[in-house]
């Protein structure tokens, strides 16, 4: 079947997407439920949005939503993005089907890294359970409902009980065709005592053209497991990006999210950490760097539903040109979650008077035996710092670059994944210089930069800082 352009988002489209993907009836009906919620929810209001996002008057007729079956030559399509040494990776070029490489040793241990629909064929019962117990609920968010109704693909990752992976599983999405639309769901599951690192990368190449990427992501860290999830977003200048994430921890499990956002024209992201297990740990590290007319609207919430849980999220952003950002965040601690600790921080630096940023942190706490705090700031780049560096021979541009790269470090240096940490520095520096760089491994970084500057590791315990609420 060829790709089909759509003229409206309606029930017929839901049915035709589901039918074209050969889905079971329960999934079609789940999609239809999501569609009804999508139709009932009011448009999201936000000062940052362009008309495209706020009213859903996205030029739908130009966008293909049903997955195409046309084959691409992955090797040439991904040239420059891959080293050829990748082992466990799932690739997707535009809307075309995915290409998966999973090494045999992982496959034989029961590790899954595959497209959503391939997983649906293999283990329908398990997928059904996931869909029915979704963390990203359709009723809570119009874009979540949209994706749950119209998704045309996705990724399924699972590491079985007791399996601990020593290298990351990766997934790369690369767009190059005009009027592409990607609507997808990702599930990442670490079963009991499993350990995994997952790297998600979103890129565009070629001439910037309108594109739409909408996704939901669910990360489930089962008891005693450890998931490090990393998301790199460097979509093209004319892409609208909408993301909803739900990350759940269980008893004594740990989940981290490290996100680097550099691309897209509009990027709107909601992340909810659900600390649903006693003694569990959730950490968010969010970095963004915008320029031009980019607009980012991010929200990250920490929801503590269990005692002895520890949650934190730290965001740092730098804004150039006329770019704008909003960062909202809430710490919610229910009555049952005693002895929990929570920390939320957002700091932004503005490089020009025309850039704008807001931080809106809040607390909702129903138990007195907890510790929770937040901090937020938005400030112009410090002229005295620039003078000091220029007095050491750095040009104004070099001085600014040094201050900006340094500004990210208190968060970046805590990112638990080496490849993301080092790659993020390389990519941010690239953006400063007007180059689009991709996440590279250490060997490639060394080859391209000659050397890696020694890191300073942040060691201060964030929970030793001043508490607004304890």
């Amino acid at each position: 079947m060829s790709q089909k352009a759509v003229s409206s988002f309606d029930e017929d489209l839901v049915r035709s997407i589901s039918a074209s993907l050969d889905e079971p009836a329960w999934l079609t009906s789940s999609r239809l439920d999501a569609f009804r919620q999508f139709a009932a929810l009011p448009p999201e209001k936000n000062p940052l949005y362009t008309k495209y996002v706020s009213t859903f008057s996205f030029p739908l007729d130009r966008f293909k939503i049903i997955p195409g079956r046309s084959e691409i030559d992955f090797r040439s399509f991904f040239q420059g993005f891959l080293t050829g040494k990748e082992k466990d990776i799932i690739l997707q070029g535009n809307e075309t089907q995915v290409h998966t490489e999973l090494s045999r040793d992982l496959e034989s241990q029961g590790v899954r890294l595959m497209s959503f629909h391939a997983a649906l064929k293999q283990e329908e019962a398990a997928i059904r359970k996931l869909i029915e117990g979704r963390l990203v609920k359709s009723g809570s968010d119009r874009f979540a409902a949209f994706v749950n109704a119209f998704f045309s693909g996705g990724t399924f990752v699972r590491v079985p009980t007791g399996v601990s992976l020593d290298r990351p599983l990766r997934r790369m999405l690369l767009l190059d065709s005009p009027s592409t639309s990607i609507v997808e769901q990702t599930f990442v599951i670490a079963e009991e005592e499993a350990k995994l690192v997952y790297l998600e990368e979103l890129y565009s190449k070629g001439v910037p053209s309108p594109a739409f990427v909408a996704s939901t992501t669910e990360v489930l860290a089962r008891p005693g497991s450890h998931v490090d999830f990393s998301s790199i977003q460097l979509l093209g200048d004319r892409t609208t990006h909408v993301s909803n994430r739900g990350i759940e921890t269980s008893n004594d499990s740990k989940a981290t999210l490290s996100s680097l956002s550099l691309g897209a024209e509009v990027s709107r992201s909601r992340t909810n950490f659900f600390l649903n297990g006693r003694g569990s740990l959730a950490e968010g590290f969010e970095i963004f760097f915008t320029d031009g007319k980019q607009r980012y609207d991010y929200e990250t919430n920490l929801v503590h539903n269990s005692p002895d849980s520890t949650g934190s999220t730290q965001a740092r952003g730098v804004l150039k040109g006329e770019s704008q950002s909003i960062f909202k965040g809430m710490i919610k601690i229910v009555n049952a979650a005693k002895n929990s600790r929570s920390y939320l921080a957002h700091h932004a630096m503005l490089l020009e008077r025309t850039a704008k940023s807001d931080g809106v942190p809040s607390l909702e706490i129903d138990n007195n035996e907890v510790r929770a705090t937040h901090s937020a700031s938005v400030a112009q780049i410090d002229e005295e710092q620039l003078f000091y560096l220029m007095a050491r021979g750095l040009s104004q541009d070099e001085a600014k670059k040094m201050v900006v790269l340094g500004f990210f470090e208190p968060v970046l240096s805590r990112v638990p994944i080496e490849q993301t940490r080092e790659g993020a520095r390389f990519m941010i520096e690239g953006k400063w210089q007007g180059e689009k760089r991709r996440l590279a491994d250490r060997e490639t970084l060394l080859a391209e930069t000659g050397e890696l500057t020694p890191e300073v590791k942040e060691t201060e315990d964030i929970f030793e800082r001043h508490y607004k609420y304890r």
Binding site: Y388, M390, A391, R392, G393, S395, F408, T453, V456
Partner: protein, 258 residues
């Protein structure tokens, strides 16, 4: 080679602070600039380095006959000028190591190959030793959480790496205990040497026990009102700054720092 300051006038936010400063520093010379708070010493230091807040309204500053005024601070560095800050600025997330390396590479003569990371590590290790500083300095953020003494030592470390032709040291002795003062002063003596001209701005005479100036100048209300040899600093120490008031009976010594 000379650093020449001729009839320099500068203001901050429309208020004139330097009211015609004349001073010439030759290679290998050490000059002390003393004076009460608010007399314009730090303003002179910032103006020489090109701080954007200080507007030069008239006068000349040249190194080896080349004009410095109008150049951005980084260009002044390339002409051989260095300023040790009274209050070094801290920059979060920038390691001392990367900072020192950038400063070192940017102060080297044009056309020379920058050293490799290993060569630089060796160079910096020697300088650290000279200033009794620990290697762990390098893996801290720039001036962040440094004690007063650590900051001043770090300034001299930068001077040692950058090897300026002319160094302005703005109250490098302030906030140091006696041991730190000795170490910093020895550092200045080692680094300055016959190739460097040094302008040591100080409020107190105590550093002059360790760093011996050939010339001492007294600044008051934006001008150098008295110049002499080392004996002038002892005179100041004995009589205090109030005796300067004799020069201008009608004016009070300003108490606030600029």
């Amino acid at each position: 080679m000379k650093l020449e300051i001729k009839d320099l006038r500068a203001s901050v936010e429309g208020k004139e602070i330097l009211k015609g400063v004349n001073l010439t520093i030759g290679q290998g010379e050490t000059h002390a600039l003393m004076g009460p708070n608010g007399s314009g010493k730090s303003t002179l230091a910032y103006t020489l380095m090109g701080h954007p807040k200080y507007q030069v309204t008239s006068g000349q500053v040249t190194v080896d006959g080349e004009n410095l005024l109008g150049l951005t601070p980084d260009k002044r560095v390339k002409k051989g000028l260095f300023l040790a800050f009274q209050y070094p600025v801290s920059v979060q997330g920038v390691s001392m190591f990367s900072f020192l390396r950038a400063a070192y590479n940017n102060s080297r003569p044009a056309g020379t190959e920058p050293p490799t990371i290993f060569e630089f590590k060796e160079t910096v290790a020697q300088k650290l030793k000279m200033l009794s500083m620990d290697d762990s300095f390098l893996s801290r953020y720039l001036n962040e959480g440094f004690s007063g003494g650590e900051k001043k030592r770090a300034e001299i470390l930068q001077m040692a790496l950058m090897q300026p032709k002319f160094a302005v040291l703005d109250e490098t002795d302030s906030g140091l205990d006696i041991d730190a003062l000795r170490i910093v002063a020895e550092g200045i003596n080692t680094v300055s040497g016959p190739q460097t001209g040094t302008l040591l701005i100080t409020h107190y005479q105590r550093i002059l026990k360790y760093v011996k100036p050939q010339f001492v100048h007294v600044m008051y209300q934006g001008r150098i009102i008295e110049s002499g040899g080392e004996e002038l600093s002892r005179l100041l120490e004995e009589k205090g700054y109030t005796w300067i008031q004799g020069y201008k009976e009608e004016e009070q010594v300003a108490q606030q720092t600029p």
